[in-house]
Amino acid sequence: MKNVENLTPRRQDARTPGAQLAARPITHPVAWVFWVAAVLVALTTTRNPFYLALVLAMIGWVLVVRGRRDLASQPAAPEISVVRFGLIVVVTSALFNMLMVHVGDHVLFTLPEAIPLFGGPLTLEALVYGALNGLVLAGLFAAFTVLNRVLPVRAVLRLVPRAYYPAAVVMSIAVTFAPTALQQVQQIREAQAVRGHRVRGVRSWLPLIVPLLEGSMERSMQLAEAMMARGFASAEAQPDKRPQLLMLVGLVALVTGWLMRLVWQQPLVGSGLLLAGALALGSALVLAGRQHPHTVYRPDAWHKSDLAVVAGAVLTAMIYLLPWPGLDRSSLFYYPYPALTWPAFNPIIGVATLGLALPVFVR
């Protein structure tokens, strides 16, 4: 019994309008999306330990400052500790890489060749490289922990593009019904407990699932009738085919463009195709969105601080991603094989990384 009580969903802003207003994010959700995208770009393009450490420090700073202050409500299940997760990932991937990749000049020790796959020389280079990959993964996890903490559920639902209006309606029904479903689970469990039902392994699920399903389906029936009675999409128009066609074209263009750059050594044609694909996808979304005209109640406002966060994120991503004239990006592509060398550090890239710290200064 006591387990279920602390299982109410983490953010309860869905229930009371007052709490929802209080839970409005301080920084605009779209600005946070820019920030996370920039972190992703930075983390995946470099394996240089200096830059990685810098990016991780920025994420950590934002996590400590904003993750505490903006927390929408108390988490239900205890979150996985970022530090613990990071340590586990770094150690595991370092050891695994060392055991699997027998390349590099600095041999630490040698396992007998008789052991399949693991046997052979174990090198320092492989160990270092595995640890760096672990750092990347830990950084990704930390960045998304920030996002999960600062954005309330409703803000995330608003980020769904208008083209996906039906899916967004399904999602908001689900988010609204989830607390009720949890309550229902609790009632069913109490009722079954009175009958002597005890919670053990997989078997205990059966007497819970069927009543839950039956009751919820009944409720969905009422909801469907209520929605139809209020004229929800009473005239079902034949949906437009063009957005889907455009999206497929865009997908094909993106894949061919990427492969051209990667495999067939045609960077110019490839980049052009990538751009065309992105344009096709964007216009498909706009076109599909036009089918669902709607207005937004109390739209989130853009502040100057949001623009600063976006600008910082864009600056970092641009420096990491694009070959600017006069900027030596070779230090980004650090590679410890075949012999471990001291990584280089470019101060310009280092300064650009600081752009990720701007959310810290938002009041």
């Binding site: 995330v156 699932i209 889907q244």
Partner: protein
């Protein structure tokens, strides 16, 4: 109408191919790198690019499924089923189950089997999305999870011909087929999710490149990685799914079919006539 059918078929075929290529890239990319070595600059961003590709495939599929698959009534049904499934995912913590067992798959399989491929796809993908939003589990793994869980629901109707061949709906064979199907997807889901994680753990493409490493050895390495890190969890998911569908399959199918009939009402707006 035929035009729409053609478009749907192309959508499913294309996203499947691109999705498979993206999921399996750790196996083919190293082979490519051996022929063209001047890739240093692009090796790093391929993981990001592939996550993007998977997300776009998902977007295309969602558009197709939401426009073709759900009527107004199904929106309510789907919303409530997603809520139940997301709740079941919450309860994982409260009820002891074996290892990687998660109670969300049985409902995806059964609903996809009864209500059709598009409904199953939406149920799978949106369940993962909603529960990730509610529990704070949004991350770069989410497109992969949604894609794979969507596939579970999308492929569930494939059981129909098998069931018909074995004696038709309502027999023990139906539940048995679905239980086996759900069990295998439990295992497959884990294997696919590992592929997402793998390039980061071992380094993407170039990082473990070494002379003479072909696709075969890459697969071998993956199998070791898989057996070490997650086989036990995924076996638990296999057993859990199979047991749950075997046990709850028949009553849940009955409920789903009953409501399928009840939801089969149509709505004809009649223009109000002014009384004369």
């Amino acid at each position: 109408m035929t035009m729409q059918r053609l478009l749907s078929v192309i959508t499913y075929a294309l996203t499947t191919v691109v999705g498979l290529v993206a999921f399996l890239y750790p196996f083919w990319l190293p082979a490519l790198h051996q022929s063209a070595l001047q890739q240093q600059a692009h090796a790093g961003d391929s993981a990001l690019m592939l996550t993007l590709l998977v997300a776009i495939c998902l977007a295309v599929l969602l558009l197709e499924a939401q426009n073709q698959g759900i009527t107004t009534k199904a929106v309510a049904l789907l919303g409530v089923l997603v809520a139940i499934n997301a709740t079941l995912r919450f309860m994982e913590a409260a009820i002891p189950g074996p290892g990687g067992f998660s109670p969300i798959f049985p409902l995806i399989v059964l609903a996809g089997y009864v209500y059709g491929a598009r409904f199953g796809f939406l149920l799978g993908a949106l369940t993962l999305l909603v529960s990730a939003i509610m529990t704070g589990g949004v991350g770069p793994w989410l497109p992969y999870q949604m894609f794979t869980a969507g596939w579970v629901g999308l492929t569930a109707p494939l059981c129909r011909p098998v069931v018909r061949w074995l004696g038709g709906p309502g027999t023990h064979a139906e539940v048995a087929v679905l239980a086996v199907f759900g069990g295998w997807w439990g295992l497959l889901y884990g294997a696919i999710m590992n592929v997402w994680f793998w390039p980061f753990a071992v380094g993407s493409a170039q990082m473990y490149w070494q002379p003479g490493v072909g696709a075969m050895e890459t697969i071998q390495r993956y199998l070791v990685f898989y057996a070490v890190t997650s086989l036990v969890w995924d076996l638990a998911r296999l057993v859990g799914n199979t047991l749950l569908i075997a046990g709850a399959g028949a009553p849940v199918l009955r409920v789903l079919r009953r409501f399928q009939q009840r939801f089969a009402f149509t709505y004809h707006p009649v223009a109000l006539q002014e009384p004369r």
